[in-house]
């Protein structure tokens, strides 16, 4: 969709301030490890998406774009941390600028801000997969299938696919666990119900039978069916309102029977043993009572027959009270004075003069007290029995019992004042139970009969408890079953959600991977054309995992790291990435950031990789970083990039960021060292720069250097080779000019040769072998004033290898075979060396 024209980076990551002009073409950032190359890739990714892959996603806990994208010295001044990128829409040719600050990374300034630019921004946000680092390649080639799927998805920023699957999987597992829990709860409820019922399995007929047995005991209606709404204890509440249930059977029966015993009744309902016990007890009681009562009856008769005794008994209390009340010698009534002792003796004599009357009185009072106690007991029993009568439906009998109680109460009151009515008192003592006539006995028998009809309370209570608990346990069981059913249904939904998602994902990814594996095989074959032309790969996605098998020289398919070398795995990683990117972005795969992705691929395969880029991705702008100079030269020689589309980062410092290898910059740097009188830094800097440039010139001019094992050449080897080669070219150019009779060219070549010779002499390099003191190895021992002319001489010498017009380095042409010319890119410098 877009191509990148230029970028301006300010205080971002390890970069202080940098500008690059990509001109919509491929571009290479070269430099050693730690020189700041990846910062450029990060800046581009940030400008385009607002994100930096290495600061987000897997394995980046604790770091973030907001906190760590800024240059370390500008963490607290994020507004100044910005990247501005100029892009071109490949389809329309329209140019846009995106300026993004770390402070407001999600709100870039877009110029012009219109529908087209917004569409581009949206596309870039959705496709951050244009960026790839070697770290990412290794993660998805040399890994387990389950991790590979994640890494491939992360590579293509498809993490959310697996995240959603994980959410649905957890949802399904949660529901599955809930179903197990509910199953267990239902089983417990079922067991509790079965234990209560005393049966082995849920059987409706058995439950009905047990239920109805209890209901029968309680006199409740039978149940004819059982369903989830069944109330096993229905009607029990109504039972509480049954009047009979208000009467406790056993106490009532006992009370009436006890009364019968007291009344010396023979109860036909009593068993033989009880009858015998009763008879014995009654006989003893009667004998004692009759003896006691006979004495009382005699006393009553004596008092009744002798009125003076009754009169005396009535006065006796007065005497006794009066004696107690006389406390001084004046009458409290008439105020008459008397002799206190005389009076006391007089009253005492009155009290003592009829001891018989006192004895009779005491016998009668004692008997009354006893019989009153008995009457009170009878009254209490009759009261309790009478209370039950209405509940047994015996209203009339209740009224009779009330009357009986009133009579007994009157008798009791009479015994409290025995001398008021000795005739009535005598009747009571002669027959204390006179009130319990035949009618009363009938009533009591009837009540006993009715009471015995009341159901046994222990059985009813048991039945009541059984039905109540059955109702509770059945309700718990039904509820547990309903809950379980609900969760089983939920489980069905969550299982379907997961299976549908996996099915859709599998279908989509299978199609994607099927397309991808064809491209992948094709790309990989092309970079290994000499021995793996028939290479085939197979991507097999399955439930969150992704198996990758690759052909190994026709011996079968194996994991990529089983037999292939590290370099081959790197190549596979990049090919797989390109295949995925092509499928995901299609025609919009117009640019790509590759951060140090081919470090372990050898030179020969890299050359093929260049061909791959040219053949399969002619419309894609690749922005690459690498620390490998050979790889850069291959990219240039294969015309993936032009020489102007390569920058080399020489070194990096936290204060200044990366330093670009550029003659003017180096010269300034050396001058700064010299200003500080720092020859120990200035001398090696000049030497390293010369070695770098002369190596480049050696390639450009096809200079001959003796090969070494390390492929590392010093200034003493490079300078003579380059000088010799250029001199040779100039000599051939003179000969050619002579040969073709071109005087002007001859003069021009002579002039160049003279200037070159003079410049070379000033470097004193010719004398290195004669005078070790001026050898480049001794530069660090120079005085500053001696070093400065040498430095100036070498920079002047390097100028001789540049075109005066375009300032580009000169080179020989062609790059192989017999040299035909020395020229520059603009063509202003062009010497024919072919005679």
């Amino acid at each position: 969709m877009i191509k990148i024209i230029s970028v301006h980076i300010e205080k971002f990551r390890g970069i202080k301030c940098l500008d690059f002009n990509f001109n919509k073409a491929n571009f290479v950032v070269n430099g050693s490890n730690g020189s700041g190359k990846s910062g450029v890739i990060d800046a581009l990714e940030f400008a385009l998406t607002g994100d930096v892959s290495r600061l987000s996603g897997t394995g980046t806990a604790g770091i973030s774009v907001g906190m760590h994208a800024a240059h370390v010295d500008f963490r607290d001044n994020k507004k100044k941390v910005k990247v501005s990128i100029k892009i071109s829409n490949k389809n329309t040719g329209n140019v846009f600028t995106i300026e993004r600050s770390v402070a407001t990374c999600n709100n870039p300034k877009i110029t012009p801000n219109n529908e087209e630019s917004q569409s581009i921004i949206s596309f870039l946000k959705e496709h951050p997969e244009f960026s790839l680092s070697r770290r990412e390649i290794l993660k998805f080639i040399v890994t387990e299938p389950s991790k590979r799927a994640k890494e491939v998805q992360a590579l293509l920023k498809m993490d959310s696919i697996d995240k959603i699957r994980a959410v649905l999987k957890k949802l399904d597992n949660d529901t599955k666990n809930a179903v197990k829990e509910k199953e267990s709860a239902r089983e417990t409820a079922k067991n509790n119900l079965l234990i209560h019922l005393g049966i082995q399995t849920i059987n409706i007929n058995e439950i009905l039978e047990k239920t109805n047995k209890c209901r029968h005991t309680l006199g409740l209606k039978k149940l004819i069916e059982i369903n989830s709404n069944t109330e096993f204890d229905s009607g029990i509440k109504d039972l509480k309102e049954n009047i009979k249930s208000q009467v406790q059977k056993e106490p009532l029966c006992k009370r009436i029977n006890d009364l019968f015993k007291v009344l010396n009744m023979r109860n036909d309902e009593l068993d033989t043993k009880t009858k015998k016990d009763n008879e014995s007890l009654i006989a003893q009681t009667e004998a004692a009572e009759q003896e006691a009562y006979i004495e009382v009856i005699k006393a009553i008769n004596s008092v009744s027959d002798r009125p003076e005794i009754l009169k005396y008994i009535n006065k006796q209390k007065l005497y006794e009270d009066g004696l107690a009340l006389i406390i001084d010698d004046i009458c409290p009534l008439c105020d008459t004075e008397f002799d206190l002792n005389k009076l006391k003796k007089h009253i005492q004599r009155k009290i003592d003069e009829n001891k018989e009357a006192i004895c009779l009185r005491d016998i009668i009072n004692s008997g009354c007290c006893r019989i009153r106690t008995e009457l009170s007991s009878l009254l209490r029993e009759i009261g309790e029995i009478k209370r039950a009568a209405p509940f047994l439906g015996l209203q009339k009998e209740n009224e009779d019992l009330i009357k009986l109680a009133e009579r007994l109460q009157a008798d009791s009151e009479l015994t409290a004042k025995p001398f008021n009515n000795l005739g009535a008192l005598l009747k009571i003592f002669k027959n204390p139970y006179e009130r319990f006539n035949e009618d009363v006995i009938k009533i009591l028998r009837l009540m006993l009969s009715e009471a015995q009809k009341i159901p046994d309370s222990s059985a009813t209570e048991k039945a009541r408890r059984f039905l109540t608990l059955l109702g509770e346990r059945f309700a718990v069981y039904i509820k547990a079953r309903l809950i379980e059913k609900t969760w089983v249904k939920r489980k069905s939904i969550t299982s379907k959600l997961l299976s549908r998602y996996e099915q859709v994902t599998k279908e989509k990814l299978e199609k994607l991977y099927n397309d991808v594996e064809k491209d992948f095989s094709s790309f990989y074959s092309s970079i290994n054309d000499e021995d793996e032309q028939d290479f085939r790969a197979k991507l097999i996605p399955s439930k969150g995992s992704l198996d990758l098998c690759v052909d190994f020289y026709g011996r079968g398919k194996f994991p990529p790291n089983a037999f292939h070398s590290e370099g081959h795995q790197d190549g596979m990683g990049l090919c797989l990435y390109l295949a995925l990117a092509k499928r995901v972005m299609g025609a919009n795969f117009t640019f790509c950031l590759l951060d140090d992705v081919l470090m372990s691929v050898d030179a020969n395969h890299r050359r093929n990789f260049c061909k791959l880029l040219k053949e399969f991705f002619p419309s894609t702008q690749f922005l690459l970083t690498t620390h490998d100079k050979v790889w850069v030269k291959q990219l240039i020689s294969e015309k993936i990039v032009g020489t102007k589309q390569v920058v080399t980062f020489r070194k990096w410092s936290v204060e200044n960021g990366p330093s670009i290898l550029c003659g003017q910059d180096i010269k300034s740097e050396i001058d700064n060292y010299l200003k500080d009188n720092n020859i120990t830094e200035a001398a090696p800097t000049l030497r390293r720069y010369l070695e770098y440039i002369l190596a480049e010139l050696g390639i450009k001019l096809r200079a001959k250097v003796e090969l070494t094992n390390s492929s590392s050449y010093d200034l003493g080897e490079l300078l003579p080779a380059v000088i010799s080669q250029y001199n040779s070219c100039l000599k051939k150019a003179k000969n050619a000019a002579n040969h073709w009779g071109r005087k002007e060219m001859l003069q021009k070549v002579s002039s160049i040769a003279n200037a070159f010779s003079e410049a070379y002499q000033k470097t004193q390099a010719e004398q290195w072998s004669l005078n070790p003191a001026i050898h480049f190895n001794a530069w660090e021992n120079f005085e500053i004033n001696d070093f400065i002319p040498i430095k100036e001489a070498f920079f002047n010498l390097l100028e001789q290898f540049k075109c005066p017009n375009c300032s580009g380095w000169i080179y020989v042409s062609p790059i192989k075979g017999k040299v035909e010319s020395v020229r520059c890119d603009c063509g202003a410098f062009s010497l024919n060396v072919k005679s």
Binding site: E126, K163, D174
Partner: protein, 58 residues
């Protein structure tokens, strides 16, 4: 991190599949379920439970 188009395409197909297969029968619940995925975000387990079980699970 944003979904790629592929992720979104999978989510769209998934939601269509749920709708077509009537995995969620209640239309209102289905509507709310689809809304969970509309924003392009990743719903939580509780979000989905709240919708499809029609209960609060937080």
């Amino acid at each position: 991190m944003n979904n790629s188009l592929l992720s979104q395409e999978i989510v769209n197909s998934f939601v269509d599949c749920i709708k077509d297969d009537k995995v969620i029968e209640d239309d209102a619940v289905l509507e709310r379920f689809m809304q969970l995925f509309e924003s392009g975000g990743i719903p939580s387990v509780d979000d989905i439970k709240n919708v499809i079980f029609n209960e609060e699970f937080n």
